[in-house]
Amino acid sequence: MALTSDADRPSAIARALRWLHGPLISRARQHLLPLGIVFLITVGAQIMIQLQAPHVVTYSDSGEYLAVARRLLAGDLTPASRRPM
């Protein structure tokens, strides 16, 4: 025989509410505003740059990365030395 009945057990909602008011969540809550400020400033800086220079920057190295990425995407894992010229 069970020592506690289902009626004694707190409901899932009550347990969730208790967890939301627990120390972990209250600790996390105090960082929400600072994190929000950091988030807005970081995203703001990126938007400013996009407004000033709205283009993607590529170098010759970028072309090499993109070429390998295309091969990976196509499932071609053959080493360069063994690929037909």
């Binding site: 105090q30 960082h31 600072p34 994190l35 400020i37 950091v38 988030f39 400033i41 970081t42 995203v43 703001g44 800086a45 990126q46 400013m48 740059i49 996009q50 000033q52 220079a53 283009h55 993607v56 920057v57 590529t58 170098y59 010759s60 190295d61 970028s62 090499e64 990365y65 993109l66 390998v68 990425a69 295309r70 091969r71 990976l72 995407l73 080493p79 360069a80 030395s81 063994r82």
Partner: protein, 387 residues
């Protein structure tokens, strides 16, 4: 062969998700990583100084730094590497507090990804595991803590060595990619151009390569141009010119040291605008001051030797203080990263250095705040570092 697979795999994942080669999606993903990194820097700063608003100020200065934010729109591995290094150091700080296996596993996986994204980061597991081992020894707990450290070390370098072995079997050159050989050649060429370093000291089998390198006039130290002009040396993933250059560099340590020193000084006198943004005088009035503020990185690097020594001495004396050890680890990573970058540089030192700029800003910011608020009293012999 030219590049390690980390960043290409990241690009391929984005293209698979975006349904084609959409560079806009890459910029967006990199912007997300840079934002995530700023949030993680807040958490790390809070762990180190214990004060929410000071951590907010520092993370906002780093997140809002236009030079850092600008890397989101550059199709290079910088933004990804930046986020990985921030996440590794956040996990490292957590591991100092709680020796959870999950934290060690996360760090190990992350620095393996980091090495395959940027081979320059080969130093990372060695340095951070050494700090953990020395701390354990100082606390007389090495016997109970060495196993996860040894396992992580073996796993990290075992995977890297296995990749290098497969690379050697395929290309006949033991390495991670061709770029490290190109960089070695670039460094030798740069020292020859800048300081007239003789291109001698290599084995006689490289006499032909040496004569061609001396005859090559690219107008600047241009290893890629040299390889294009002399494709006969571009075999075995660049092993011929990589071996030649490393032998020449080993024969002239004085030139290497002088080049490294001068390259480092370019950081402290830093006044460049972020790549591809307009020159300062053509920027809108509201952007120019922000850009000037972003050059604080140069000022922070000027304090590097002093900060490193201070962190080293304090961490040695107070090895029980996890915050202090984390601060020292940050400085150690910066110093190791800079040391590798100045040696590998031939024209893009600021790019190689970028992934640790945030750590320099964070540590110097923490020290400035601690000085201003009197938590470090320079007049007292009992200085209290931020922890």
């Amino acid at each position: 062969v030219t590049r390690t697979p980390g960043y290409p795999a990241f690009l391929a994942a984005i293209f698979a998700f975006a349904g084609g080669q959409r560079l806009g999606a890459v910029v967006l993903a990199q912007g997300v990583l840079i934002t995530l990194a700023a949030l993680e820097i807040y958490l790390l700063a809070h762990r180190l100084c214990g004060r929410r608003w000071e951590a907010t100020l520092l993370a906002a200065l780093i997140g809002g730094n236009l030079y850092i934010a600008n890397w989101a729109r550059v199709i290079l591995s910088e933004a990804l590497t930046y986020w990985i290094i921030v996440t590794i150091l956040l996990s490292f700080e957590r591991y100092l507090h709680r020796l959870y296996a999950l934290n060690m596993l996360a760090m190990t996986l992350l620095w393996i990804v980091a090495i395959f994204t940027r081979p320059q980061l080969l130093y990372l597991p060695f340095i951070l595991l050494s700090v953990l081992a020395i701390r354990a020894a100082r606390q007389k707990r090495f016997a109970e803590r060495w196993r996860p450290l040894a396992l992580s070390f073996a796993l990290s370098y075992g995977i890297v060595l296995a990749y290098m072995g497969a690379f050697a079997a395929t290309y006949g050159s033991f390495g991670l990619s061709k770029v490290s050989n190109v960089n070695l050649l670039g460094t030798a060429m740069a020292l020859h151009y800048r300081y007239h370093m003789p291109l001698d000291g290599a084995e006689s089998r490289f006499d032909g390569l040496r004569a061609d390198a001396l005859a090559f006039r690219g107008g600047r130290p241009d290893p890629w141009g040299f390889i294009a002009a002399y494709p006969e040396y571009d075999t075995n993933a660049g092993a011929p010119y990589g071996t030649f250059a490393s032998q020449v560099l080993r024969a002239h340590p004085g030139y290497v040291a002088r080049g490294a020193y001068d390259t480092f000084l370019t950081t402290t006198s830093w006044n460049q605008t972020p790549a591809a943004l307009a020159p300062l005088d053509k920027l809108p009035f509201w952007l120019a001051p922000l850009l000037q503020l972003s050059t604080l990185i140069g000022l922070a690097y000027a304090c590097l030797p002093l900060l490193f020594l201070g962190a080293a001495v304090t961490a040695w004396r107070r090895s029980d203080d996890a915050g202090m050890v984390a601060l020292f680890a940050l400085m150690l990573v910066v110093v190791a990263h800079i040391a590798v970058a100045v040696l590998a540089d031939f024209e893009s030192f600021d790019r190689l250095r970028f992934p640790v700029d945030w750590a320099m800003l964070l540590v110097s910011g923490l020290v400035v705040i601690a000085l201003l608020t009197g938590r470090i009293d320079l007049r007292s012999s009992h200085s209290v570092a931020p922890s």
